[in-house]
Amino acid sequence: MSYPLVSNVYAEDIAQEPIRAGFGRGLKNLGETNKNVVALCADLTDSTQMSLFKEAFPERFIEMGIAEQNLVTVAAGLARASKIPFTSSYAAFSPGRNWEQIRTTIALNDQPVKIIGSHAGVSVGPDGATHQMLEDIALMRVLPNMIVIAPGDSVEAEKATKAIAENDKPSYLRLAREKTPIFSTPDSPFEIGKAYVLREGYDISLLGTGTMTYQLLFAAHLLETQGIHAEVVHVPTVKPLDEATILASVRKTGRVITAEEAQIAAGFGGAIAELLGEKLPTPQLRIGMNDHFGESGTPNELLEKFELTARQIAPKIQQFIDAVPRYHQGF
């Protein structure tokens, strides 16, 4: 069954919404269905969209103040008391500042705390490099027991919020601040640990996570007129990876490009390189932030500067296909 995309997925008038908005709705819905869900925030309740839950369930909302170390460790204590705690802050501060607390009291302690890192990536914009978290995928995916998810749009973020609450593992949900095109539909599947082929092709596998999936999808659309048939695979769960889906695509295409709004070193591209290096060595190009920080600017200016837009990615795909022979077929 093919993945349901919105009908106007390549149109200029595609609906857009911040990914974090889907989290806000999802958490509020969870509040209604699961009395054990509690929400903790470090003085960023509106920004992280926890305000919807706070308004509906004030008795289950805990204001933590600007104290991210305490945010996650209090949550670990609540989890021991059989609650399902969601913590939210900017990703730069949680897990940026409190990583050791997460490692010891949540990951090693294996408590089902749900860590929500909002405002990840350079598209945070004018706040600049201090607030543009780029290393969170790397930090979180190396932790045993931790699930790492970067939803592709707000509709998927809502489903992911529900899914991590129903899973008894520590989880990290990576959210973005700016409006992002909504490519998925309410009927599109989401399951932790699954990757989805959004568009079939045979010339190259384009693997995206978070906000970059739509850019890859649009780049593939642009390249079709030039006779390039790219396969686009959306990988919302960075850990655990859906190895079967990824390997099947790469085995078919013989080339791979990854894209993320994060450091490519040890991030999503790194995770794919590890997988392919061991199981299916394949030429790979990693698109993302390459060993540098962001800066102030509008979100669109920054995505342009760091060459993360579909129109900038499309020629890179073309060059990569021209330069790299197809692997696997004929091996």
């Binding site: 103040g65 104290a67 170390q69 305490n70 209090v74 204590g77 021991r80 008391a81 302690n109």
Partner: protein, 283 residues
């Protein structure tokens, strides 16, 4: 148990600790020894627990925030019947449930995983918040033990502010005020005083006791439970290495001695409040 019986049990725990350290070949000495009276009293008198049902939903909660002192918790748990005393000598060995720092998933009865300092207090605060505001379980208590050197950590004061704000009156903290940390006396490494004033300023009810006086430990815990609008901290003045004369007051014994032979010797020096006793095998 009578006070005398609790004192004897604490002496048994000190013997267990030394035997464990002798067998392990590494670990911390001073803190576990000086906490023996407080933690023995918690497990044998103060806390409502059932060693045969470590997940009993009505139990009180114990969190050792300074996880490096865990030999004393293991010894007390074994003496209390959570597991057999003979397992104590597996401390720090491959495959043991008694990890060098406590791990919840390894040993039933441990409420959390700790060791990196400063984060046990906030976990206790999270649990106490749940009891007070979410579960309406006002008959259960959360007891946390912290070190004094541990109070250097920022996370402690974040938790102190949080517990003060929410008036977590079911949270009771014992500070092991033994005045030493690895690099030396606490007041040389990073001065803590005015310690009482700091906690009071954060909205806590503060008591100060002799941490080796079991009657004082019991009375202070009772008083703390009676305070219904504030979290409680009990600054417990202790003697590092308590019970072994050549270890007492010497910060060099925060960690391990030169060899297991130090602990063989310590066993022969072990003192009770009534004077010297002869050590026996741990079994």
């Amino acid at each position: 148990m009578t006070i005398t019986q609790l004192q004897q049990k604490a002496a048994d725990v000190r013997r267990d600790i030394l035997t464990m350290l002798e067998a392990a070949g590494s670990g911390h000495s001073a803190g576990p020894l000086d906490l023996a009276d407080i933690i023995t009293t918690l497990y044998f008198d103060i806390m409502n627990i059932d060693p045969k049902k470590p997940e009993w939903p009505e139990r009180d909660i114990f969190i050792l925030s300074n996880g490096h002192t865990v030999p004393v918790q293991y010894a007390v748990m074994a003496e209390r019947g959570y597991f057999d005393v003979s397992e104590l000598t597996t401390l720090r060995k491959l495959g043991s449930r008694l990890q060098g720092h406590p791990e919840r998933k390894k040993l039933p009865g441990l409420e959390t995983t700790s060791g990196p300092l400063g984060c046990g207090l906030s976990q206790g605060a999270g649990y106490a918040y749940s009891l007070q505001y979410l579960d309406n379980a006002r008959h259960r208590w959360v007891y946390v033990v912290t070190g004094d050197g541990e109070l250097n950590e920022g996370n402690i004061w974040e938790a102190a502010m949080f517990a003060g704000k929410y008036k977590l009156s079911q949270l009771i903290v014992f500070i092991d005020r033994n005045n030493i940390q690895i690099d030396g006396p606490t007041d040389e490494v990073m001065p803590l005083e005015d310690l009482r004033g700091k906690w009071e300023a954060f909205g806590w009810h503060v008591q100060e006791i002799d941490g080796h006086n079991i009657e004082s430990v019991i009375d202070a815990a009772s008083m703390a439970r009676a305070i219904s609008n504030k979290p409680s901290v009990i600054i417990s003045h202790t003697i590092p290495g308590k019970g072994v004369d050549f270890m007492e007051y010497d910060y060099h014994w925060h960690g391990y001695g030169k060899s297991p032979a130090d602990y063989t010797r310590a066993l022969t020096k072990l003192r009770t409040l009534n004077g010297k006793i002869t050590s026996g095998d741990i079994s």
